[in-house]
């Protein structure tokens, strides 16, 4: 290979690695609860449901529950709207919104379904 080509490929590789390292955090929109407290705009936080108890407030028009994030912190999530299907069975929950008065007010809730491609009847399974 010509020396010119080697240098060219080397430069491209360095640029790619530089981009990858500096873009590391932009590749994911999810932040921890600690980070969410410091960011002023709308953020996406994710966690697992702490307890099976969900509190319905406002005559069933709002949902309140606790999430545990990856750093082990808990947060109270308040969502004004109908409870999404499968919220309790979700493997993880993503809340989009912002912190207000020590509670996370969510404009939107997203759920991660369990990654199982098994029949819900359970009878056709064999691995």
């Amino acid at each position: 290979m010509k020396k010119r080509h080697v240098i060219g490929i080397g430069i491209i590789a360095i640029v790619i690695i530089f981009c990858a390292v500096s873009l590391k955090n932009s590749l994911t929109p999810y932040v921890t609860f600690a980070q969410a407290k410091t960011i002023s705009g709308s953020v996406q936080v994710r966690g697992v449901l702490v307890s099976e108890q969900m509190v319905m407030t406002d005559g069933g028009k709002a949902v309140k529950f606790k999430l545990l994030d990856e750093n082990g912190q808990e947060a109270i999530i308040v969502y004004k709207g109908t409870k999404p299907d499968g919220l309790e069975q979700a493997a993880s929950i993503v809340a989009i919104g912002k912190y207000q008065n020590n509670q996370f007010v969510a404009e939107k809730l997203l759920v991660k379904c369990p990654s199982k491609y098994q029949s819900s009847q359970g009878s056709v399974n064999n691995k």
């Binding site: 590749l27 993880s92 939107k108 997203l110 759920v111 991660k112 379904c113 199982k116 029949s119 691995k127």
Partner: protein, 209 residues
């Protein structure tokens, strides 16, 4: 002949998806979208790798037929990638609750669309056939190096709403057997469809030369 067989194969797969695939825990019958989404995504990756392979052939032999094949493969790959993105967004709305939230999987496939979209723009901007072939070949080759990262490696480093890959970290398949066979049939049908589209477009291009 192949086209008739393909038509029957696709019909068979669609029938199987609607009648044989059981409802799944959590997703229920929505899992059917996966039987379109997964095949088109796999074929896009295959197309991008084929494009790179023909790029290498072009750079070695300088025969224009390889440039033609590489370009058609990349363009079809972009099309299938777009189909994967759109079906993914629909799947996301129905299962996660939103069409698009810049989930890492969505961001990486978006980047992939940009990379190969740029490939087409690059080709359109060069008039001289040989120069275009040479530069496209290098670009297609470099672009294909990003594919394993964007599709397989990077998404596994981040939390994502996207379901775990079918081949999970342990290496075992966590999938109902009937579903697995139907999925393999769907992937096969999609691959043959790609092959037929590819041959058709390449022949048309050769005829118009």
């Amino acid at each position: 002949m192949v086209k008739i067989a393909l038509g029957l194969w696709i019909s068979g797969v669609v029938y199987a998806v609607f009648s044989m695939v059981p409802a799944v825990e959590g997703l229920g019958y929505l899992v059917r979208i996966a039987f379109f989404h997964i095949p088109v995504a796999w074929v896009a990756v295959l197309a991008f790798f084929l494009s790179a392979g023909w790029s290498v052939q072009y750079l070695r032999t300088r025969e224009i037929q390889y440039d033609r094949k590489s370009a058609v493969a990349a363009a079809l790959g972009l099309l299938f990638c777009l189909l994967a993105t759109i079906s993914g967004a629909i799947f996301a709305k129905l299962t996660w609750g939103a069409y698009w939230n810049w989930d890492p999987r969505q961001t990486t496939i978006f980047i992939l669309l940009l990379i190969y979209g740029a490939y087409l723009v690059l080709r359109a901007s060069i008039q001289d056939e040989e120069e275009r072939a040479r530069i496209s070949a290098v670009y297609a080759l470099l672009s294909s190096l990003t594919v394993p990262f964007l599709v397989f490696i990077i998404p596994r480093f981040y939390f994502s709403l996207h379901p775990e890959p079918v081949l999970n970290k342990v290496g075992k398949l966590e999938m109902n057997v009937v579903m697995l066979y139907v999925l393999l049939a769907a992937v096969g049908a999609c691959t043959v469809l790609f092959w037929q589209l590819f041959e058709c477009i390449v022949h048309n291009k050769q005829r118009s030369v």
